[in-house]
């Protein structure tokens, strides 16, 4: 479904991602670990085609198409969806207004907003004054309504209280139960692993991918030994 081959990315002339390889099959979910500033969000933003993330080498292939030169909007039409780590607020633009464009089904909007405890937020300016957890719920709400085939989740559960992680985890696992949906998710806390069955995980350190393995085992090992240990298991061509 998604394949990244030898991808190098520069931001403002600085190499941030160096020769990244991985692939995620249809119906699979994968996890990306890595310390702050290692390039995880950069990878996701590059896959989305955001401005300023310049691909200097390599290809991004989605559904068999090379999408390097696609606009963000074209990538979305093809089936990519993102949950932002830090979404911007937009004055005067209501969450409900966006929701109604993402889904034509009022009932879906209502049910999902109830599930994610966002009914009171629908008439508010998107992300303006939302708490950290509310923002994450609003991101998940939007991306689920958007119904993409491939979910890019940038720290979906960071800053979310345990009860809401449960709610969000359930929404995500329901969504990904569909055999046609895939996901790549970034997590520091590992909580999301309790809800989403991920097949593989790997670690990004200083713009390179290291190691590949079972997400829960890998998370335990990072917890015990830290990220440095990951470097011992050199696996620069994760496949």
């Amino acid at each position: 479904m998604l394949e990244v081959n030898g991808l190098s990315v520069e931001v403002e002339g600085k190499l941030i991602l160096d020769n990244i390889h991985f692939s995620i099959k249809k119906g699979e979910a994968a996890v990306l670990f890595g310390p702050n500033g290692s390039g995880k969000s950069t990878l996701i933003k590059t896959i989305m085609g955001f401005a300023g993330y310049e691909v200097t080498k390599g290809d991004i292939i989605f559904k068999g198409k090379k999408i390097n030169d696609f606009s963000t909007e074209q990538r979305v039409k093809l089936g990519l969806g993102i949950m932002y780590q830090h979404p911007p607020a937009i004055r005067g633009v209501k969450l409900s207004q966006i929701a109604r464009v993402l889904s034509k089904n009022e009932k879906d909007i209502r049910l999902m907003s109830e599930r994610l405890a966002l009914t009171g937020h629908l008439d508010r300016d998107i992300n303006l004054g939302f708490s950290g957890g509310e923002m994450k719920r609003s991101e998940l709400f939007q991306v689920i309504l958007q119904n993409p085939d491939f979910l890019l989740l940038d720290e979906p559960e960071s800053g979310v209280d345990l009860e809401n992680i449960g709610i969000m985890g359930k929404v995500l696992s329901d969504y990904l139960r569909d055999a046609a949906k895939s996901a790549l998710m970034i997590t520091h806390t590992g909580y999301i692993l309790e809800y989403v069955k991920a097949k593989n995980s790997c670690v990004m350190i200083e713009g390179k991918l290291w190691c590949v393995g079972n997400p829960k085992e890998m998370f335990e090992s990072i917890r015990k030994y830290g990220y440095d240990k990951c470097k011992e298991c050199v696996c620069p061509r994760v496949k």
Binding site: S71, E73, V76, K77, G81, V93, Q97, V101, L102, D125
Partner: protein, 367 residues
């Protein structure tokens, strides 16, 4: 009395532009209507027992107490005003009455090169509550027209006036409103200003004096500046009474025109609060927005603040909407539309929806 009588005085080709300034030609949702074309008052009628509405010249002849109002707001600030006016309205809302449906006044420039000069007086008696919409527009023929509008507002003790002025001029019309509002104890004055169509030049700096304690004033403005338009728009509130409050909120979008956004809050008593907020979006290389917020006090126990932000549309916001599947153009228009949010106007639901729709129609295809 049958509603919609105003329609008899409006030519078919004038309907669209007059409606675009917020005038309800059916009169269904209005309690009183005033219409002046160039210098002639062609229609003036109240559908409510609680509202008096008439030609200012009739008021000067017929109302014994008009001398308490005419020119008096200007006099209270030692300000001069032009005396060569022709027409304008006198509106008074009776003591203690709440008028549910808005009053509307339409000032229309009809002929080429005409210089329309009006003097308006609005009196909201003690404890009364009312919404007033003034719609100003110009005909296809009114090239090089000029409009001068003098307005004096008297908002008595515990009264509430929500005044919405919608300008819908044309690219070669110049406009100069002059207005002073005197607000008594416990009363509220809300002034909304909306200008979304091309205009040559608009200069105004309305002033509100909060004379009584616990009085409130709020100025909100939404301005879309087209190439070759020039807006010099300010709002001033003088906090004279104890525990008075003022808020000035300005939103301007330049499509290539020039906007000066002034604001001035002056504290002349203790325990007063004032806040100025000015936001501007520049969508074209040629556009200019100049925000000049001013605050002034001789007292320590005041709370005055301001916030100004001017710039391009944020790339992150566009990208965010693109990541939800919008094109960059769609994203831009959603962001600009949101920026010009009518919610800042503090209108009741019905009127809010009306103005929202008006704005949608006017902004369609603007950028």
């Amino acid at each position: 009395m049958s509603k919609g009588e105003i329609a008899r005085h409006i030519q078919p080709e004038e309907k669209k532009i007059i409606s675009s300034s917020g005038i309800d030609i059916s009169e269904d949702m209005r309690s009183a209507t005033f219409l002046q074309k160039d210098s002639s008052v062609v229609f003036s009628r109240s559908l409510s027992d609680d509202v008096e509405i008439m030609n200012i010249h009739d008021a000067l002849k017929e109302l014994p107490d008009i001398k308490n109002y005419y020119g008096q707001a200007f006099k209270s600030l030692n300000r001069d005003y032009p005396l060569d006016t022709e027409g304008g309205y006198f509106i008074r809302v009776k003591k203690g009455k709440t008028v549910e449906l808005p009053i509307q006044a339409c000032l229309f420039l009809k002929s080429q090169g005409f210089q329309q000069k009006v003097h308006n007086i609005i009196v909201v008696e003690e404890g009364a509550r009312v919404y007033l919409i003034t719609g100003c527009s110009a005909s296809e023929a009114a090239h090089e027209g000029f409009h001068l509008g003098i307005s004096e507002f008297f908002v008595k003790k515990d009264a509430y006036l929500n005044f919405t002025m919608i300008h819908s001029w044309r690219e070669d019309v110049s406009v100069k409103p002059m207005s002073i509002s005197l607000v008594e104890e416990g009363a509220s004055f809300i002034s909304n200003y909306i200008s979304l169509r091309p205009v040559k030049e608009i200069t105004m700096y309305p002033t509100t004096v909060l004379n009584g304690s616990d009085a409130r004033a709020r100025y909100n403005s939404l301005i879309l500046s087209h190439p070759d338009s020039f807006h010099d728009i300010g709002s001033r509130v003088i906090l004279k009474g104890r525990n008075t409050q003022a808020e000035i909120i300005a939103r301007s979008v330049s499509l290539g025109g020039r906007v000066i956004n002034r604001g001035h809050i002056k504290a002349e008593n203790k325990d007063v609060t004032g806040h100025l907020e000015c936001r501007g979006l520049i969508l074209s290389e040629q556009g200019i927005i100049h925000a000049i917020p001013e605050m002034e006090t001789n007292y320590r126990d005041v709370n005055l603040s301001h916030e100004a932000a001017i710039g391009k549309i944020s790339k992150d916001e566009i990208e965010y909407l693109c990541s939800r599947g919008f094109t960059a153009e769609e994203a831009q228009s959603i962001i600009v539309r949101g920026f010009m949010d009518v919610d800042i106007l503090g209108l009741p639901d019905m009127l809010r929806q009306e103005i929202d729709k008006l704005e949608n129609d006017m902004l369609k295809g603007s950028f």
